[in-house]
């Protein structure tokens, strides 16, 4: 039930863009995105509930393709502060708990 994230790691220069993907083998009710900085707890970024829904958060946005059972997180014009590990969490229909992917380690360099 654990979603699969790709890539596992990505290194960017400041100002570059990145896409992080999250896919599931089962139908999804919702997708959540979290970011965790080293030594800190994960923090919530956004939640997507409807197929095709896109949400934005500063220059970080996400889409949810319910049919394809996947979500993508888009980071545009990356900043140093974007560095961290990004996790997607998925909820199945009629299910109560969330499963997280293994994470994508993003490093933004000056």
């Amino acid at each position: 039930q654990q979603p699969v994230q790709s890539p596992q790691a990505v290194i960017l220069r400041e100002g570059e863009d990145a896409v992080i993907n999250c896919s599931s083998s089962k139908a999804l009710y919702s997708v959540h995105w979290y970011r965790q900085k080293h030594g800190e707890a994960p923090i919530f970024l956004m939640i997507l509930l409807k197929g095709g829904e896109q949400k934005g958060h500063d220059k970080i946005s996400a889409s949810f393709n319910e049919k394809k059972q996947q979500s993508s997180l888009y980071l545009t014009a990356s900043q140093l502060s974007y560095s961290g590990t990004y996790f997607c969490g998925t909820e199945m229909r009629n299910n109560n708990d969330m499963r997280f992917g293994a994470g994508t380690r993003l490093t933004v360099k000056p």
């Binding site: 919702s30 959540h32 979290y34 800190e40 707890a41 994960p42 923090i43 919530f44 939640i47 509930l49 996790f87 969490g89 909820e91 109560n96 708990d97 969330m98 499963r99 997280f100 992917g101 293994a102 994470g103």
Partner: protein, 116 residues
């Protein structure tokens, strides 16, 4: 309190000993989760409490692990006869979700467990 708190922040124990980890969720949050995160790894689901419903224990790795939530608030995760592979950061999260609703989770700072 303002956020989720966990105690202790660090715990070093000897192999074979029992440990108890505590989580104080945000007041009023009905849902509480425990996760385990090994060094450089993702979040491994352990157990989920929702209101007065029976907890979802499907993520507990062995019968040495158990958890309870008293009065719908504080939760304790107990690991019996600890093993070195139990070493990890144990994270607790709570949310105000209702069944079938949105589930924004707020994480505590975690307890770093080291089993020698």
């Amino acid at each position: 309190g303002a956020g989720v708190s966990q105690s202790p922040s660090n715990k070093v124990t000897e192999k074979g000993k029992d440990v108890e980890l505590r989580c104080d969720p945000i007041s009023g949050h009905t849902a509480l989760y425990w996760y385990r995160q090994s060094l450089g790894q993702g979040l491994e689901f352990l157990i989920y409490f929702q209101g007065n419903s029976a907890p979802d224990k499907s993520g507990l790795p062995s019968d040495r692990f158990s958890a309870e939530r008293t009065g719908g608030s504080v939760s304790t995760l107990t690991i019996q006869r600890t093993q070195q592979e139990d070493s990890a950061v144990y994270l607790c999260a709570s949310s105000a979700r209702e069944r079938g609703g949105k589930d924004t989770q707020y994480f505590g700072p975690g307890t770093r467990l080291t089993v020698l």
